[in-house]
Amino acid sequence: MIFIKILSILVMLFYALGSAGVFWGIPAERYKILVLGKFFTWTGFALHTLLIISIILLNGADDLSRGYFMQLLAWCILLAYFIGWRLLKSGFLSLTASPLALLLFILALKVDKVQIEMPGTLKELFIALHIGPMYTSLGLLTLAFGAALLFLHMDRKIKSKTRLTEFDRGLPALGTYDRINHLAVVFGFPLYTLGIAAGFIWAPLTWGREGGILGSWDPKEIFSVFVWFLYASTFYLRILRGWRGRKAALLILFIFGISAFSLLGVNLFMPTHHSFGSLATFTA
């Protein structure tokens, strides 16, 4: 267990260094520091991968805590960023990736002891249909969030005809960010729908609930449904009404903001079966 502890501290340290590098490097336009920040983040990511595998190997897959799933989410988001970074070749994405990973990782350590109650029936199917799609859509959403920030930044610069810095010149074209946004909507929304549907199917199976869907008025569920409606309208506006560019970017920012609050704020401060403080099933 000491191995896990040391590894956890190392991962946290590297994510912290990575975030610091990114936060210092980008506004100050210090590219070497930015590169160093990215290096730390990806070193942390590699160690994190090792950590996730070792926990499974040491503890077994049946005895996973809430912290483990939280860690897994941090890892998934970084993975999405890694793919996005390869596709976009843009270091700006790590501006949101490293701090987010750090935040989730620290939370994960905090709630590490909270055991989760997994559904007794069809546990593997539950993971495949609820946790998997939820995490993937969240990964896509954060990727689109970074891309949306970048889009708004560059859109403003090109519209207002202000001088591009050396950093701006290294960024991809506006069209690239819009494609990421498209990706997050086209794939993210169906995945989110699948994940949330699976959640509502398994919830009564696990907790034996009366009153049907939303019968318990759990804040987490309310927020999830709210996000789903937002996501659905974005899907409609983007795919069917042809919203693009600035408005599409703003929509994604909004959805991401609400989901982040639902993930962190609700789980931490409100009584819910997804709570970090009680014994309940953990989902994103």
Binding site: M154, I158, K161, R169, A173, T176, R244, G245, K247
Partner: protein, 475 residues
């Protein structure tokens, strides 16, 4: 520096266009026709060993390498003669750089730091062509070959490590760069020319080069539209159909002579709906403007007029000037490296000879001895390894001595001394007599005839004179 590099030339700063025309050397055949006496080319021992001629519309430069100073006078004389002028007419416009300064100048020119438009890319190609010509004429050898390759390397380094050549410095190219920044994927973009004009056509050419899909042309006189369309393999559309075509195009270059705006924000709302908000880029080169500035307030439409583009160009030029400072530091660093390297090559032949000589002795003795001993293969190998190590260790200190002293004493007299002490030139040892009479008889020049990849050796100071000087020095 014993090997001299010299550069004579004139450029847009030192000479007006009439002078540059009068003394252009592009077709003069300075090297090919032997107007400039170059040793490497004519296979003779001449003061100028190597030469290269660069002649562009903004500069004429002659790069020389040789073993004597004042190469420039000869070069200027030949240069003037090649254009049937007097050297006096040419001399006031010419700059002369020697050794390190010449190297630095060449590096700066190759990196486009000395160009009229800072950072323009053509000059490197022109130097490469000049070098090819020189190679064809056979007028470069060891020094200029190394120098030119280094210059290409420095130019590449400057290009990749600084932003000297990174951004557009012409209005039409700046427009294309912006288009790339908006769309990214140029091959899927369609462009439309509204009206025609020199700058609009230039921008269209740049867009074609960037690989856009197709170009539409709309003009009030349809014949002109047809003519332009055929030039860009595009399609001419009637001017009246302008708004029907707009939903299909991504980039609009407008330059009509219309007295008021042709495209207004209220016209664009419908267009954007029909193209499902795909982004559009308007380049308005016309004065008075063709596109109402209001259009820029719409989402997904970007509008740049001629003043905006000029401002972008001005900013880019400022940025290039800032980057030039960084580039100059690279040039200076590389100049220093090259000069150091060039100096160290003076020692190379002596070091090689020293090692070869001791190896020859060892090999001779070893063959003689090994014949008598019936050694096993393993023992033979071990002994051979040992002999190799001995050669290295014995030569280690003399070589180190040479290298260290070389830094402080640039005459290279120690190399000469070493050659004499180890008799590297396999001469009869100097009879005592010559020593007593001092340097009445200078030894003949050493080393192979000029040329080849190994640089020629310098003539060493006669040993007697050397010892005398040492004695005097110690008094």
């Amino acid at each position: 520096m014993n090997k001299h590099i010299c550069l004579v030339g004139l450029n847009h700063r030192t000479a007006g266009v009439e002078i540059r025309e009068a003394f252009a050397l592009a077709d003069a055949g300075l090297l090919e026709n032997g107007l400039l006496p170059v040793g490497a080319h004519l296979k003779k021992d001449l003061p100028i060993k190597e030469a290269l001629v660069l002649s562009t519309c903004n500069r004429v430069e002659i790069l020389l390498a040789g073993r004597e100073e004042k190469l420039e006078e000869l070069a200027i004389r030949s240069w003037a003669a090649a254009r049937n002028r007097q050297p006096e007419e040419l001399a006031p416009f010419v700059y002369v750089h020697n050794d390190a300064e010449a190297v630095k100048h060449l590096f700066a020119v190759a990196s486009s730091l000395d160009s009229m438009v800072l950072g323009e890319p053509q000059i490197l190609g022109q130097i490469k062509d000049a070098y090819k010509d020189a190679l064809r004429a056979g007028s470069t050898r060891f020094i200029l070959n190394a120098l030119l390759h280094r210059a290409f390397f420095v130019a590449k380094r400057v290009r990749s490590e600084t932003g000297v050549a990174s951004s557009a410095v012409s209005v039409s190219y700046a427009a294309v760069e912006l288009a790339k920044r908006i769309f990214g994927d140029m091959p899927s973009c369609k462009a439309m020319l509204i009206g025609a004009g020199e700058m609009a056509e230039l921008a269209a050419t740049h867009l074609m080069n960037a690989g856009i899909k197709s170009i539409l042309v709309a003009n009030r006189t349809h014949e002109r539209a047809l003519e332009l369309a055929s030039r860009y393999h595009g399609l001419a559309v009637p001017f009246a159909d302008l708004f029907a075509q707009l939903p299909e195009v991504d980039i609009v270059i407008s330059s009509t002579g219309a007295p008021e705006a042709v495209i207004r924000a209220k016209d664009m709302a419908g267009v954007m709906r029909r193209r499902r908000n795909r982004p559009m880029f308007f380049i308005d080169i016309a004065v008075p403007r063709d596109v109402d500035p209001d259009v820029n307030t719409l989402d997904n439409i970007y509008l740049y007029d001629i003043d905006d583009l000029k401002e972008v160009v001005e900013e880019n030029l400022t940025q290039r000037r800032e980057e030039a400072v960084k580039a100059l530091a690279i040039v200076e660093e590389e100049t220093l490296n090259f000069c150091k390297w060039l100096e160290s090559t003076e020692l190379q032949p002596t070091i090689v000879d020293l090692i070869r000589r001791s190896e020859a002795i060892v090999r001779e003795e070893w063959t003689r001895t090994s014949k008598r001993l019936r050694l096993s293969e393993k023992d033979t190998r071990a002994l051979e390894l040992m002999l190799g190590a001995i050669v290295k260790k014995i030569n280690h200190d003399p070589i180190n001595f040479l290298k260290n002293r070389f830094e402080e004493e640039k005459d290279g007299q120690y190399a000469g001394l070493l050659r004499l002490v180890f008799n590297l030139d396999k001469k009869e040892l100097c009879p005592r007599r010559t020593r007593e009479h001092g340097s009445e008889e200078a030894p003949p020049p050493l080393g192979p005839p000029d040329g080849g990849m190994i640089p020629p050796r310098r003539t060493p100071e006669p040993a007697a004179a050397f010892f005398n000087r040492i004695k005097e020095g110690s008094k």
